[in-house]
Symmetry: C3
Subunit: 338 residues, 3 copies
Amino acid sequence: MKWTLKSLAQALEAELVGDPDCEIDRVATLHNAGSGSLSFLANSKYRKYLKSTGASAVLLTNKDAADFSGNALVVTEPYVAYARAAKLLYPAQAVTPGQHPSAVVENSAVIDETAYIGPQAYIGDGVRIAAGVYIGPGCVIGHDVQIGQHTRLVARVTLCERVAVGSRVTIHPGVVIGADGFGIALDSDHWIKVPQVGSVHIGDDVDIGANTTIDRGAIDDTIIHDGVKLDNQIQIGHNVIIGEHTVIAGCVGISGSTQIGRYCAIGGGTGIAGHIEIVDNVQLTGMSMVTKSISEAGSYSSGIPVEPTREWHKNVIRYRQMEKLFKQVKTLTEKQSD
Amino acid sequence: MKWTLKSLAQALEAELVGDPDCEIDRVATLHNAGSGSLSFLANSKYRKYLKSTGASAVLLTNKDAADFSGNALVVTEPYVAYARAAKLLYPAQAVTPGQHPSAVVENSAVIDETAYIGPQAYIGDGVRIAAGVYIGPGCVIGHDVQIGQHTRLVARVTLCERVAVGSRVTIHPGVVIGADGFGIALDSDHWIKVPQVGSVHIGDDVDIGANTTIDRGAIDDTIIHDGVKLDNQIQIGHNVIIGEHTVIAGCVGISGSTQIGRYCAIGGGTGIAGHIEIVDNVQLTGMSMVTKSISEAGSYSSGIPVEPTREWHKNVIRYRQMEKLFKQVKTLTEKQSD
Amino acid sequence: MKWTLKSLAQALEAELVGDPDCEIDRVATLHNAGSGSLSFLANSKYRKYLKSTGASAVLLTNKDAADFSGNALVVTEPYVAYARAAKLLYPAQAVTPGQHPSAVVENSAVIDETAYIGPQAYIGDGVRIAAGVYIGPGCVIGHDVQIGQHTRLVARVTLCERVAVGSRVTIHPGVVIGADGFGIALDSDHWIKVPQVGSVHIGDDVDIGANTTIDRGAIDDTIIHDGVKLDNQIQIGHNVIIGEHTVIAGCVGISGSTQIGRYCAIGGGTGIAGHIEIVDNVQLTGMSMVTKSISEAGSYSSGIPVEPTREWHKNVIRYRQMEKLFKQVKTLTEKQSD
């Protein structure tokens, strides 16, 4: 896809500095850019590459543009503008309607004629698939699932029975939505399963990363609200509710019945206990351990970063002796006060 | 499935208080219950909903029933009774015998005529599948695998060659059993693979959650004993042995050759080192870090829960200065004793 | 596969002590060994089993062989020798060329005639598959993927479009390579996706464990260099670069744009922040939390192992009071100096 810098500037509502006829056909990082590529500067760490970049044009703030002699598209938020530019330069492939002959589609499924069902996909009884949906190779869609317009299941996604997915959702390979929640009860000497009769409701404009799992509700539904973005290998327990526009990085685990607010940002590897509530606008840094509700917006952290193993050994020992130390200091203080 | 309260009371061996002819056709949480639904009170947190619940009947302890004016089924353990009631109201669908025409079944596989093989499943050479087994869409069963009676592979499960699975086991989508363990040896300047020639043995009545992985043994087998319940995204290394009726929450990782006892309960996100032993009846709270054997039953924990990021920063610095503090206190004590 | 001890000794360049005609047809652990089996002693923990082992021969160091009365193969590194012996006794099955009739292969794919495409695999447009490659059941290979000689995709592996995989690579079930990285930008009140237009490059002799995910680069590629060994359920973010012969245990998460050196060893459950660099020859013990670059080789650790829950509670409280304690000690010191 080729654009002139002039047309790109118009589409991005950017101020053009330089040659309007310059042709752009791809994006590149500042230090790997060649002729024809558009780059951007959003992280000051990479400013050092600006002078020598081979990019044909760069997305810059007003301030950074002042020091730059090449072609520039001046914007207030270069990263957002870059995201939009990349969408223009690499437009999503249109969905070709139809069903691959190797797909298995039950008769009672209702599939919009503009949707695509890929090779070796399985579509169960009573499934409803809306316009423009893409079901990639090897997906398994259980009975009575609903999928909204222009949603894309990349490949090998599993949606269990009765799961409802909104519009413009992207689901990556290996994702499992609607497997049974972990509901068990100890019946004297053995565990019995608690039937998981709820479902999962995924809102609009949600992205779900590879191998993430979202369990069905025990009684009521598990709910992922509009605009939520989930990275890879996240585990979301039964009856969790995640508010609009919350983003969650990889390897996070959220236990059952926990509610998370809107516009939260949860760092990778975080673990969140069950049956708690986290309000809107909470940030959790990576590997946080959350055992209680969080009732005030703001940034929270836990964990002690690595140190050389020798020192770590010493500090762990000292940690376990803290009680003793506190007592010693108490004694010292009392004696001194005598 | 419709039940009268009277018939439910009989099936659950519960004491009926109220209208025996009341009809129940579903379960509900206390606060979302409508007419026709059975609810339960097991967590005191939800007692506040009891007064206003719309449930047609509620499973209660003797004590809670005393304060309740609606229909009640009085039992000693409402949650266990609820699990049983839910099973009656939502009976598991019977397995329809047969093989989907799109399944690929090798000639030497021996499949009981009451078993079901779903769309696009693959069944390898020498596989033996017992009565009432359900193999869902997209499962891959390697050669010489054995599967016991009434076991259910929901969809897209992979069992590698020679794995043995017991009876009444449920395995959720994305599970991989019998992939190679992580056995490597450093041969001067590069790693060589150690062939993993053992297998995996799964007992009876085991549940395995979505995207969990259980590696085959290096020489002897990896063993999951009867009644073990595994949540999602758990990683179990080669030659791990897990005792009867142990339950493990999501995102737990267990390194190779570790042995875990019976009736243990392991919280989500816990990591357990290799080549150690954990005795029966050990509880580990969420995100525990286990580096050594545990030889006494009881509850163990680790990790420091989140605090506001500003305070976290300070505490991490203080943590690294503990050694200095201990020395200061030592000096102070010595001086004071002078 | 049957070998005489003499021929095994020659193949392994081991010194034979005992009966050269002794027949070996399998491997076994020292304590489970029977007649016909070869065992080894590499971990001193298991020396106690040496006296009573039923193995027909044992791989031993010179020192251990001195105390052993049975047949021995004396080597400098018993574990490496064991790995080689196991490969001889359990040779990898040769790949039978051909395509299963249930596989779907696009016309423009170029597949070497010595490669195998398994049941229900899907091979996209423009894919290039080299000699001796094995594509197991249910794999999905996106368009324009390249796979080098003798690489093995066990089953249900997903390679997204344009991913390049080297030679002699093994990829286990559930692995997803080339799903979109987690690139989003906040456009006033909602997140927009940043198109991920890079790819993934996997070198030669790489092993990738079950359900591991490796995201495609945002602009440039994600790169896994030659000889890297990855365990199960690892998450590797976009634009990560991992150096030659680095090994990573299960459940590790590596955030985007981080670079890891050569010959590193990363323990299970470790979390590594984005945009940092770790030099060659770094060891991280299990559950390490890495938030900053590591510029010196050596062993690093973090995390405090479990203690009984009662003591853990006390220590967490004490940890949060450290600031107070430091102040108290400061006051004491000042007073004492008066």
